[in-house]
């Protein structure tokens, strides 16, 4: 497989196709976004097991619940904003509450749908989904972690919210990566500070580490991958072994991954946590990197937060 700059959406489509090959129970539902979510890859190979629900996300999610009661494994896709907000009550009451085996795999999470502007960007979805009981929340960070996470969630019973972005990013893992639900990955060791990142922000954290390293600061980098259930052991170890934690996510700082870490450590091992994310404002249209620079989702802001923490 090729490395460098690959899209997690493509990984999703290809992983679905592979799943379709050996698991006849896998069914795919989309809401007129198959070409954007890449479920089209599955649809082309298995048209009988692909259902377009049109621009009607609520019906799609409740119908997935119905399919799950017939022992199918529905993978349900649309943009993060519509899955997590338009159809959230359907997901909460008909999927999460009865613990049905529905996989909500969403794309265009965070500000990654930069051109479309605030209406199509999703900066609240992690906060919403992580408060619903029975739901596992997963945010892969590259092509290979996406591919492996999609295969992994097909093998576990129960509802999952898996969040993907839109952009291409550098590959972090390779085809031998062993994704485990609830398990984070320490990409780099370090004892001065820990940077915990998710999704496309992991790449930024890695770049920030290089700069910090050149300045004599050794940062541990953790790719969290699963937000719920939380890899408590790795977080606790980072809190004990390093001087503090900086979290990085393309999501509102309220209620997102940074909040998860802060809540956990406040109770278990009070530690200084600084959060990099969207500071409680809506996004807007623009080039993705332009947005990230302006919203603080940048390498320089991560470096700045680390220094603030170590001061």
């Amino acid at each position: 497989m090729v490395t460098n700059n690959m899209s997690s959406r493509v990984a999703y489509g290809l992983a679905l196709s592979q799943l379709g090959e050996y698991n006849p129970k896998v069914i795919v539902l989309d809401a007129d976004l198959a070409k954007a979510t890449y479920t089209i890859k599955f649809a082309e190979k298995y048209p009988d097991r692909f259902f377009d629900f049109g621009i009607a996300e609520q019906n799609m999610v409740s119908a997935a619940a119905g399919l799950a009661t017939m022992e199918f494994i529905p993978f349900v896709s649309t943009f993060a904003i519509f899955a997590s907000m338009r159809a959230v009550e359907q997901f909460r009451n008909m999927v999460a509450y009865p613990e049905l085996n529905v996989k909500l795999v969403v794309t265009h999470g965070g500000t990654e749908n930069s051109g479309d502007g605030a209406t199509h960007q999703s900066i609240e979805d992690i906060a919403i989904m992580r408060t619903i009981p029975n739901v596992k929340v997963i945010v892969p960070s590259d092509y290979f972690s996406t591919y492996k996470a999609v295969l992994a969630i097909a093998d576990i019973q129960g509802p999952v919210y898996l969040r993907l972005g839109r952009s291409e990013s550098q590959t972090i893992y390779n085809e031998n990566f062993n994704f485990k639900v609830g398990k984070s990955v320490e990409l780099f060791s370090g004892e001065d500070v820990t940077i915990i990142a998710i999704g496309s922000m992991v790449e930024k954290a890695v770049f920030a580490r290089e700069i910090l390293e050149s300045q004599g600061i050794h940062a541990r980098i953790i790719d969290l991958l699963t937000i719920k259930p939380l890899d408590e052991e790795a977080i606790l170890r980072a809190a004990i072994e390093t001087r503090g934690i900086v979290t990085v996510e393309d999501h509102n700082v309220y209620g997102g991954m940074g909040s998860v870490i802060a809540e956990f450590l406040a109770e278990k091992y009070p530690t200084r946590v600084l959060r990099v994310g969207i500071n409680d404002h809506f996004g807007c249209s623009g080039d993705l990197e332009e947005l990230r620079e302006n919203f603080g989702l940048s390498v320089s802001n991560i470096v700045g937060k680390v220094k603030e923490l170590l001061k």
């Binding site: 629900f53 049109g54 619940a65 009865p98």
Partner: protein
């Protein structure tokens, strides 16, 4: 049509009403109005029409039933208990802490419940999913969804109606308990839902309008729906909310009100009189 069957199913409906009233009284809360209006429909489905095996609630080729108007579950619970899905004594524990009988149907707690419902407007969508699933499995299972009339105000119902005809789901049957009342008043006062026949026809459904308290009409309409295999079917069943209890009939106050002991006694006396 066998007269003995009709008599048996009519009797079943009155029995369900008695149970529902007793259950709601003991629970101290619940929804009597809609529980009474749907009694003949539930009786015909659970005591005759549905292909079920109470000893194997998860039998994969069974017919499915979705109570989209989940609040009127006492009648359904009573039918399930009478069919032997769980002991009759459980009916005394409706809405009690730790009970298998929740205020709205819960598939994880109650044997015989095919899917959890409660939030209005979602049952038909779940039915679409089940009907698609049955098609994929090549199963003869048929999917029945009972909706309230006020519930038709939910936009999602029409998303589901569109999808069901788009996918030619001839194995899907919607039944509307058309008692014309909802919490804030009549459908006409709150939010008009008519013209219903035209709406469903426009969405590509085979439509029948029946008297929802007539066992023969329910039996015939279900048979006709079963024969109609090229598109989904809807049975608009005209009913009376609170049917069988004089002070509840057509009275919007009795949508979701518990009964006093006196009211319970009077209601049961009236129901028993109707039954025998």
């Amino acid at each position: 049509m066998e007269q003995s069957l009709i008599k048996e199913l009519e009797d079943g409906a009155w029995q369900l009403r008695e149970r529902a009233i007793e259950m709601i009284y003991k629970a101290g809360s619940g929804h009597p109005g809609g529980s009474l209006s749907e009694a003949e429909i539930i009786s015909v489905l659970y005591f005759h029409h549905l292909n079920l095996d109470p000893s194997k609630p998860d039998w994969e080729n069974r017919d499915r039933f979705i109570l989209s108007k989940g609040h009127s579950c006492p009648t359904l619970y009573a039918a399930l208990a009478i069919r032997g899905f769980f002991p009759i004594e459980e009916l005394n524990r409706l809405r009690k802490f730790g009970s298998i009988l929740q205020g709205h149907p819960d598939m994880q707690r109650t044997p015989g419940i095919d899917i959890s419902t409660g939030s209005l407007g979602q049952g038909l969508s779940a039915g679409v999913g089940m009907a698609l699933g049955a098609c994929l499995l090549g199963s003869e299972s048929r999917i029945y969804v009972l909706l309230g009339c006020g519930e038709l105000q939910e936009g999602q119902v029409w998303e589901a109606a569109m999808a069901a005809s788009h996918y030619c789901l001839g194995n899907l049957v919607a039944i509307i308990d058309y008692n014309r009342l909802q919490i804030d008043g009549t459908n006409d006062m709150v939010m008009k839902i008519e013209p219903l026949v035209k709406k469903w026809e426009a969405f590509g459904w085979y439509v029948q309008v029946i008297d929802g308290h007539s066992v023969p009409e329910i039996l015939i309409s279900l048979d006709k729906a079963s024969q109609h295999r090229d598109c989904p079917s809807v049975i608009i069943a005209k009913t009376i909310k609170g049917r069988g209890v004089s002070f509840m009939e057509n009275n919007v106050e009795w949508h979701g009100k518990p009964l006093t002991q006196e009211e319970m006694k009077q209601a049961l006396a009236e129901l028993r009189e109707r039954r025998y």
